[in-house]
Structure formats: C-alpha cells, structure tokens
Assembly symmetry: C2
C-alpha cells in the first residue's frame, strides 16, 4: 500500500491505473476507522481494480463550536487497517495541502442540505460538498463509497454528483451496528460507559418508529413514538426524530422512500442514526 500526502504524489500513484483504465474505488474518510469504514473498503475491494482511501479531518465541515480539535485521530492504526483491507493507495493530505492560502471556492447544496443536520450545523454540508468535490477531482474514481449512517450526507453528495455531472457512481453501504444496535461512529469514542449504554436509545427509538410504521401509524404518530422512547432515557437530549423523504429530507410524499432519522446528544457526543422504512 502506498501512503501519499500530496496531490502530486497521489497523481503519480494513480497514473498506472489511469493509463490501463483500471477502475478506481474511493472511500473518503476522516480517519478513526472502524468496522463501518471497513465495510466500505471491503465493497470497494470487491467491486474495483484499485482501492483509494483518503483520511482527512476536514476543518470546513466543523462549526466554530464543534469538536474539530477533539475529533479522534489514529493515523497509524488507520493505515494498518487499510493495509489489511487491501487498500492500494492511502491519501493523507494536510490541511495546507488541501486548502492553500487564498482558497476562495465553495460548493453549496441547498435542497437536502437545508434541514435537520444542515439546520443544526450551519455550513457543515457546504464543507462536505466542497471537500468531496475536490477529492473526486483528485482521485477521479469510477465508484465512491459512503455509509448509510450519514444519510443526509448521502443525499447531499448524490445531489452534488447529479447537479454537477460528476462522473462517479455513489455506492451506499448499510449502517454497521454494535450487537446492541448502536451505529458505529468515530464519535462513540466520546461516550463514558454509562452514556454508551444510554446511547442505544437512538436505535431503540428507530425500531419503535419502524413498528409504528408497520402498524400504519401516521408520520406524526411515528415521530411522537420515537420522541417518547428517547424521553424515557435519562441523560439523552433529543435534537430531532423525524420521518423524511430519503432524497429531499422534506416531509415524505406518497410512494417516496422514507427514512426515520434521529439526532441526540449523549454526554459530549452528538449522535445521529437512521432507518429506511417502506409503507
């Protein structure tokens, strides 16, 4: 596995693949890799000729009062995991390499980026769209892999790819969970033991919501059901529990793929989760 830290090194590493038109699968991450990332790397390994991982804690997608400085960093362990997963090239740029002085371009997605996470984290999805647009241009993959866990990010990236005709196929892989249902997240590292137990309430609320959907409850009742489950868990502060259309994150219309989405604070961690449902 090659580890490259500049765009020039990345291009040099990928040139043989481009010349021979081998397909590139790309997994962009912020590091702190866990089994969720591993599932993306495994899919990229199975479906493509060359697997590229990026590790970049993107400052643009953190708000001023968010956890940029505290965000877990574990480059050595990440590269070890990448090697074991069959990654060919790991791109680990510095902030200065990605954003030299004088940077003045921003990619903004309205639509799915306006609501819920977008409302809770102003500028977050502009930061995501900008870095992903740049990484796509640097790596030029045929396929790029994202986790269903960050469902609104997926909707934003699909909109970006569609609107700007980015020549990449966005592959979404299922959320990976602990045995008790907690969705894997690098931010789970912030949880104290008692918080770790309480954090399963997100998954329990989503499951209760799903049961209500199966029982033909209205979306309003489905949302109340999820809220009630969280309300019964001390130490967890609900931010939202909603049923939304998967592509727009607006209220669902008939026949649209629906997502139950939830966000809550547990201790220092702000956690999100979601569950696709059909009615």
């Amino acid at each position: 596995m090659k580890v490259v830290r500049t765009e020039a090194e990345l291009q040099e590493a990928l040139e043989p693949a481009r010349v021979s038109r081998r397909s590139i699968g790309f997994v962009p991450t912020m590091g702190a890799l866990h089994a969720g990332h591993l599932s993306l790397l495994t899919a990229a390994r199975e479906q493509g000729d060359v697997v590229v991982l990026s590790i970049f804690v993107n400052p643009l997608q953190f708000g001023a009062d968010e956890d940029l400085a505290a965000y877990p960093r574990s480059e050595e362990a990440d590269l070890e995991m990448a090697r074991d997963a069959g990654v060919d090239v790991s791109f680990v740029p510095s902030v200065d390499e990605m954003y030299p002085a004088g940077r003045s371009t921003t990619v903004s997605v309205r639509g799915p980026a306006r609501l819920l996470e977008g409302a809770a984290r102003p500028g977050h999805f502009d930061g995501v769209a900008t870095v992903v647009a740049k990484l796509f241009n640097q790596v030029r993959p045929q396929r790029a892999y994202f986790g269903q866990k960050d469902a609104q990010q997926v909707a934003v990236i699909k909109a970006l790819v569609r609107d700007l005709s980015v020549p990449v196929e966005v592959v979404v892989c299922p959320t990976v969970r602990e045995s008790d249902g907690l969705a894997l997240s690098s931010r789970n590292a912030y949880l104290e033991p008692s918080e770790r137990t309480a954090a399963t309430v997100l998954w329990r609320a989503l499951q209760a919501g799903e049961r209500a959907v199966e029982e033909q409850a209205t979306w309003e009742v489905v949302e109340k059901t999820m809220e009630q489950v969280v309300a019964n868990e001390p130490g967890v502060a609900l931010e939202y529990a909603r049923a939304v259309a998967a592509n727009t994150f607006e209220a669902p219309a008939d026949g649209e793929q629906v997502l139950l989405v939830i966000a809550a604070r547990v201790g220092r961690a702000r956690l999100i989760d979601n569950l696709p449902v059909r009615r």
Copy 2:
C-alpha cells in the same frame, strides 16, 4: 462534426477519445460565435487531438434585469463556423438538459468574484462557476480555452480549477479586436452605428491608461486618465475604470501582473475590456 444535445450523447461521442487517451481541448461558449471564439477553437485545434465546443446560453449567469432573452442566438451559423474550424463535437444542450428540476448545487468563488463585474452583476460569477464546473465534468478536457477579454471570468475559473483541483489546464487567448480597437463581443450586435463608433472609447481609454503607466503615473492617476477619456465621449456611461491585480482583482501590490479594466454602457450594450500592463 458531431452535434450532440444530451450528456449521454456527449459521452458516447467522446468515449473513443477517452479509450485511446487522446487529448481533448474544450471551448465553452454562449454561441453567437465571432473571431474571438474562432481564435480559441484554432488554439484548441492546434494543441489537442479532439476539439469540443459547447454552445449554451447559461441562464444562471444572467441577472433578473439582464439580457438573457435578447442575447443573440445563431446556432446554424455557429455550427457552420465550428465545422470550418475543425471542431469534432459540438455540445448544444437545452436548459432542461443542463438544469433538470430539483437542481440544488451552486459553485461560488469569492476572492476575484467579489469586485467590479461581481459587484455590478450579483450572482453572475456563481452562475459562471457552476456551469463551468459542470461542463468540465461532462467534457473532462485536458485543456480549456478562454478569452482574455473576460479577464475577471478567467481569474474566477483559474481560482475554481485551483481550489477544487479540477484536472484541466486553463489556456487564455489574447483579446481579438476590430481594426479600430473595439474588442469583439457578442453584445456588440446591440450597438447602433453611432454607438459602434463611440464604443471605441473603451480601447482608447485603456491605451491612454497604458501610456500613463509607461510614464510612471500612480495607479490613481492612471485611473483618472482613463475616466477622463471616457468622459469626453458623449453617450457612453462609464461604470468603472480601474487598475487591478490580474489574479485577485484587488488593488495591485508591487510586482503583481496588473490589468487595466473598464466597463461602460453604450446604448443597450454593457461592454467590458481590459489591457495587461507591466510596471
């Protein structure tokens, strides 16, 4: 020459070039082609294997009170000129093809896009950056050709390419002028005969500014010199006459490439021109 109107047709037309890794030179235009565009096509023909022209009057880059409806359209003559210039593929998409319903992504460049044309035409450079980012993804050229005449657009596109790591070389071709100095522009078609004569004042002002630079005048005096030339021409309303750094469009610092830039209204036409100078 192939004329294609959808992205799918474009990809089909370009696939042989991609497979054989022939270089693609791209000239994005809004049609109403003149000798200025022709110089771009000629450069693309000389430097690349495959020449792609796009003709798309991009509504995003027109303000609500601007000349979108009136903008000259001459597709048949444009395609004839393209054929004669050795263009291989002309991409002529509809607005619906480029911007289907639900479009929600915008590319914004601050920096050079904030001032002068950016201030006079709010949203203009967002529209330019968004369509150019999309066209670059659709065509994926090795080189793209732009006219020096639209100097601030060039600065915006260079910033976009740098900031988002777009894998394209931006080639800037000199402004093409009528024998009396008027810079070629599709908008010159708006000029009545007497206005056409008066419009040469932009070039006369730039030349007077250049002489002042050669005589070691301060930038302030250079600007006043240009303003004075325009003030002596009845029927021409100056918008600005400035000396700016070519990359940032801010006030020039020592040693930077300087542009004299000018904008004025002549009859229904809003005209711009510029002249690179060295001190």
